[in-house]
Every structure is written in C-alpha cells, then in structure tokens.
Amino acid sequence: MAHKINSKCKKVGECKKVCPVDAISEGDPIFVIDPNVCIDCGACKSVCPHDAIDAE
C-alpha cells in the first residue's frame, strides 16, 4: 500500500514539505509519491488543500 497523488494536484507543495521520508517529488504535470519509499503515514494527505492524495 502507498499513498498516491491524483489529478486534482495543483502543485502547492505542502505535501513535499511534510513528508518525513522524502517520498514526494515534483513531477510533470503533478507531484508524485514514490511507492517504494512511502510509509503510509498520511501526513501529506492531511495537509493537501485540494484533497489530491488518496490512500491506495
């Protein structure tokens, strides 16, 4: 299981700031979470202002 950023992402970058394991990087056209690094803590999900992160 990993969290995943969906198309609602507006590239605000709040998720990247709070990720404790640096699993999030700026992709094109949206931010992406590396599923092999993500620890499913959900920190990104709780700060996303656009509800763009799903628990997969």
Partner: protein
C-alpha cells in the same frame, strides 16, 4: 536493486470514503430501517438503499451478493436457537442469528456462520517485503499483498482504519479467489503473498486457501497480524504460512485494552506458539509518545521476548505518525526509537531495528558476533546484502532467518 513497480499491477484501495461520509450514519440508518420495515416494502427499498451497517445483515438478494461472500466459516460451533459460537479468536463471540461477530466480517445466517470477505480483496498491491516489515525473510523480494475489510482490534492509531474498521459492504472490493491470488502473485514475480493492511486472521479461510494454493506454485505466504487468535486455527495456519509478523502493540494490559481495544495475554500465547511451531517470525512495536515508550516497559518487554522466544527474534521499533483517532500526539522522537533499540540490545536481543526512519543506521542488519554490517538498508531499498548461506562472511556466525 530493481524497483519493484515495473509491470506490477496495483489496484486502488477503492474506498468510498466520501460516500460513507455523506451517507447516513449507521445509527441513523438503523432508525431509518425500522421505519422501512414497518412500511412493508423492505425488498424494494433494500435495493435502492446504500448497503452498510449491521442493520442490513439479514437482507438477502443480489445487491449484497456482489460484495459479500457466502463461504462457510471454519472454527465455530452451533448452539441453541440458531446461535453460533465463534472459535476463531479469543473474543469467542456468541453470535445470534442475523448478526455478526465483533470483527464485522463473520455473520450468522440461520445458524450457519459465514466468512463474508472470502475471496473479496479490497486492497491489492505489490510491496517490497521490507515494508511489512520482514527483514530476515527473502530480503529484496516482492510480496503480493492483499487485504479484506475488518479487524478484531480497534487501535486508535490504525493507519488503515478506512478498511480495518469498515463493514465489508461499505468499501469496494474485487473478486479474487485463492487460486487467482496465487496466480497473480506468480505473474507479478512476487516470491510471497502477504496477508496484510487490515487483520488477516479474520479472513482466516481466505488466507488459508490462498496460502495453500501459493504453496503448490512455490510461492511463500506471510501473515502480518496482531496475533489475536486461538491456538487451534493458528496451528493450522502454521502448516501453510512461511513467515509471520506480529504487531506487538505494547507490554501492558492497560495499553492493549484502552488504546487497541484488545488483550495482551493471547498475543503472548500466539508468539510462544509460533516459536514452538518453528515458523520464522518477527515483531513490530509501534512506539507512541507517552503511551508505550518508557524505557522500563521496553526493558521488560525485551526481557520477556528473550526468555520466552529467544534472542534471535527481530524486534522493529517503528515511528508513529499522528493518524485516525490519535491526532493529538506528535511523531515519535528519533531519540526514543534509538533508546528502544539500544535497550532491547542491552537486554540481549540480537536484532533490534528502527522503522519508518529512512536512512538510519538502525535499519541495517549487523552480525551479533563480529558486528559487521551484513545488510545495508535505506528505507525499503537494499544497498547490499553480504549474508552468504545464512551466515556472516566474516566470522561464519549463523544469521537466523529465511534467506533463500
């Protein structure tokens, strides 16, 4: 290391969280149902209503058949008045006709007990085995991971509460019979199937059949569990599984009861049983600030592990992040994790790790004899693995685990 995502299927969790949030609560649905029954048009209404909640447990028909299985459960006894007595986990629910056990996924219909989530996977994903975490079981391989709804605990810090605390009809799932699980695991190049995310013990029959099907195809099975199960079913599982990870929540009855809504003693019994059965197992202790992270408690726990399970059981002390009902506490300080690891090693535990702390030296495996770093891990990645034929290449010390 090869990133495991290539060509690997990855279903979404398919959770209808928003739908749940906008629907009526279970309680109000019950009230509503009462009125509907009086209205004598139950059958018509049932198909139009969103399914969910125990109040609907006795509804029959195609709407529920799509999401719930009618596979008969194992480990139960029939009692008077169509009641059944569940013998799977230590709660031993006495389930009256038309209701479910505490786990929400085992239901009595007319005196027969059904495993509602048999073959109904709500989450399917391929993960590195290190994510489970199992560090001494085929490092660097992938585990084809599945879950169904439900759990027999109610941990207030659960990361997967959306599925573990859900009614099976409240979340979407896919039909994936045991043989299909084994086939997909093989197709995706996984060396093992992990029963994980929620609580696999309560989808016991599904796990057992999938593990047997996988065994025939040369694929292992690992159970990621709270260990809250009765002896007989656990013994039967040991014959089909190849490794187990037990979430050892803490070392006090109070913590188990107040925070996890479970009980400590039966979990200790399971650990001892696993030791006796000779199956490979590892333990995880999620350290939550102020609740289960005192040095005294960790010392006492480590002492118990060494005395009852031996010094070679790996213990992973993992970092907590605020989630679910436990948003009032901060992430576990790194020094607490380091203190726990050091304390366990002082008490004679040979393999103590930190977890959820990518890049920390405490994620790597060291030879207990000559202290050589044997497996270097960074998060779930393995930078190198020097273990040869199950032993340290420097001093030939045997390193316990399943290495090939």
């Amino acid at each position: 290391m090869i990133p495991p995502e290539n060509g690997i299927i990855s279903f979404s969790v398919l959770i209808h969280r928003k739908r749940i949030a906008t629907e009526l609560s279970v309680e109000s649905r019950r009230e509503f149902l009462g009125k509907v029954v009086k209205g004598a048009c139950l059958a018509c209404m049932a198909s139009a209503l969103p399914l969910g909640g125990k109040a609907f447990s006795y509804l029959q028909g195609s709407a529920r058949a799509a999401t719930l299985s009618d596979h008969e459960a194992m480990y139960y006894a029939k009692a008077a008045n169509n009641r059944v007595d569940c013998k799977l986990c230590p709660w031993q629910c006495r389930v009256v006709d038309g209701t479910r056990g505490r786990c929400n996924v085992r239901e009595n219909r007319g005196g027969t007990y059904y495993a509602l989530t048999y073959g109904k996977a709500c989450t399917v994903h391929t993960d590195p085995i290190e994510k489970k975490p199992l560090f001494h079981y085929l490092p660097g391989t992938n585990a084809f991971s599945i879950a169904t709804a439900g759990c027999n605990f109610g941990c207030e810090f659960c990361q997967n509460w959306e599925i573990s605390q859900a009614q099976p009809e409240d979340i979407s799932n896919v039909d994936m019979p045991p043989a299909e699980v084994a086939r997909l695991a093989k197709e995706n190049g996984a060396r093992s199937i992990a029963y994980t995310y929620s609580e696999p013990l309560i989808f016991f029959e599904y796990m057992l059949d999938a593990a047997r099907a996988a065994k025939e195809r040369g694929i292992g099975s690992v159970m990621i569990s709270n260990g809250y199960v009765r002896k007989e079913p656990m013994k039967e599982l040991c014959g089909a599984l190849s490794a187990v990870k037990i979430d050892f929540k803490g070392f006090t009855d109070k913590y188990y009861e107040d925070v996890c809504h479970g009980q400590l003693r039966p979990v200790q019994d399971t650990l001892v049983l696993l030791k006796e059965a000779g199956i490979w197992f590892e333990m995880v202790v999620l350290l939550i600030p102020t609740l289960n992270d005192s040095q005294g408690e960790i010392r006492e726990m480590s002492g118990w592990v060494k005395a009852n399970l031996g010094p070679d059981v790996p213990i992973h002390f993992t970092r907590f992040y605020p989630t679910y009902k436990m948003l009032n506490l901060p992430p576990t300080p790194i020094r607490t994790l380091e203190m726990a690891r050091n304390t366990a090693m002082e008490e004679g535990i040979n393999f103590a790790y930190v977890g959820n702390l990518a890049g920390h030296e405490g994620e790597s495996t060291y030879c207990p004899s000559c202290k050589t770093m044997l497996i270097k891990r960074i998060g779930y990645y393995i930078e190198f693995n020097k273990i040869k034929d199950g032993s340290c290449p420097s001093c030939s010390c045997r390193i316990p685990g399943v290495w090939s």
